[in-house]
Symmetry: C2
Subunit: 279 residues, 2 copies
Amino acid sequence: MNIAIVGIGLIGGSTAIRLKETKSFDKIIGVDKNEANQKKALQLGLVDEIMTLEDAVQHSKVILLTTPVDTIMQLAPMILDQVDKQVVIDMGSTKTNILQGIAEHPKRGRYIAAHPMAGTEYSGPEAAIPDLFKGKNMVYVDAFRTDEDAFDIADAITEQLEMKSLFMNAEEHDMHTAYVSHISHLTSFALALTVLEKEKSQGRIFELAGSGFESTVRLAKSSPDMWTPIFKQNRNNVLEVLEEHIKQLQKLHDKLEDQDYEGLYKLIKKSNKIKRIIK
Amino acid sequence: MNIAIVGIGLIGGSTAIRLKETKSFDKIIGVDKNEANQKKALQLGLVDEIMTLEDAVQHSKVILLTTPVDTIMQLAPMILDQVDKQVVIDMGSTKTNILQGIAEHPKRGRYIAAHPMAGTEYSGPEAAIPDLFKGKNMVYVDAFRTDEDAFDIADAITEQLEMKSLFMNAEEHDMHTAYVSHISHLTSFALALTVLEKEKSQGRIFELAGSGFESTVRLAKSSPDMWTPIFKQNRNNVLEVLEEHIKQLQKLHDKLEDQDYEGLYKLIKKSNKIKRIIK
């Protein structure tokens, strides 16, 4: 039984590393439109061979989609057209639009929408690492729309990756990820832009940067190729959370401007409730 | 030779741990207005004994100020009034206002303004940890205003803490810390408030929170007792950076709202330049 990994970057490559360890598949076939990535994936031993998408679909039981989400959006219906008993697993970060696009497809049952809640700020095959997924959540989206045998195959991979399973519908998933993942990237991008701008007039500004700064800005190293499509696919939710976040920043700003230090203290104290969530 | 540590929390306590290791002082005297903190500091062995501020100043060669910055602002001139040949080291996060308050004090030369660029989101004596300062920067502010023998004593402590030294003037320091430390805390506070608000209507929202979210929101666990005074003391710089940051977020928002994905891509790409700064 072979698996095709379409898009051999951080997620695809890290999945490949783990599936090689567990020897779950006879062959891991890589598909990537970028030739440099193809070469690197072979060199790093992430995949056994490179094929075109068409050949890979033909020769695999499982097709794993780990490209940017706009590419998944295009590929999903095309691949389902070529599928018989195979299983297509979409590991992208947004779901609503993509699932709408294949809702009426006769092979819809072969498609599993799954989102591994794991990642780093790095991308490309060289970003792939062992144990990226270990102990993290795999979110299955609209899993009731998937054939039982197809789901079982996907869930066996989730087990190989040593992940826990969660279930959600698409709207819930896309809204929740906007709040606990997409917004974090936007704040990091904006923070990096803010400080890089100031650096132009204040050369030494980064000398004082410590771990707190690094922590809030590290996601700004994330790839625009991956993130622009995520914001595009999840536009409404992302706009909502961004507007709410700007409102909260403006509230902190206004308390400080008005020298209302008791009000500022109360807001900080309230935000401390996040302790309940992150240890 | 004794040292008095005024405010036995994360910074004071972590300094005490290291100075005990290096046996640089005969006795470490703790001063803290909070009785629970006094007890904990003794129990944890951070300090050898607890004294009132007046007694501690009397019995110590070095007085280290590690309270919130509004307390440092009040204490600095009072302590200088009681000082003869002693050395007062201010380890707070803001400097301009405090140094203005003692600019004409006859004992100004005994005062060293130093800011260790190290910390965590935790506070209190139990937050004190070994090696908090190791390899980090100690920023000396307006060091030319300090007597040479007093500076040498402070710098010997910096060496004990295994820190590197940097020199700046007060305005530069307060502006730079606004950009690479204070704003990071404000974005975290605002992000926590944003998501906590949404949780009220969407109970499960935190199930999907991963390491990216944690990274950008962990500073929201920071103490309002410490941070409200920092924002107050550094109000103008903090307002400036906060306004700039909101502007950058609004720019990202507008690109997305206008569906200008090329523009959004370019902004993200530009923010990636932060790679140059953080590895």
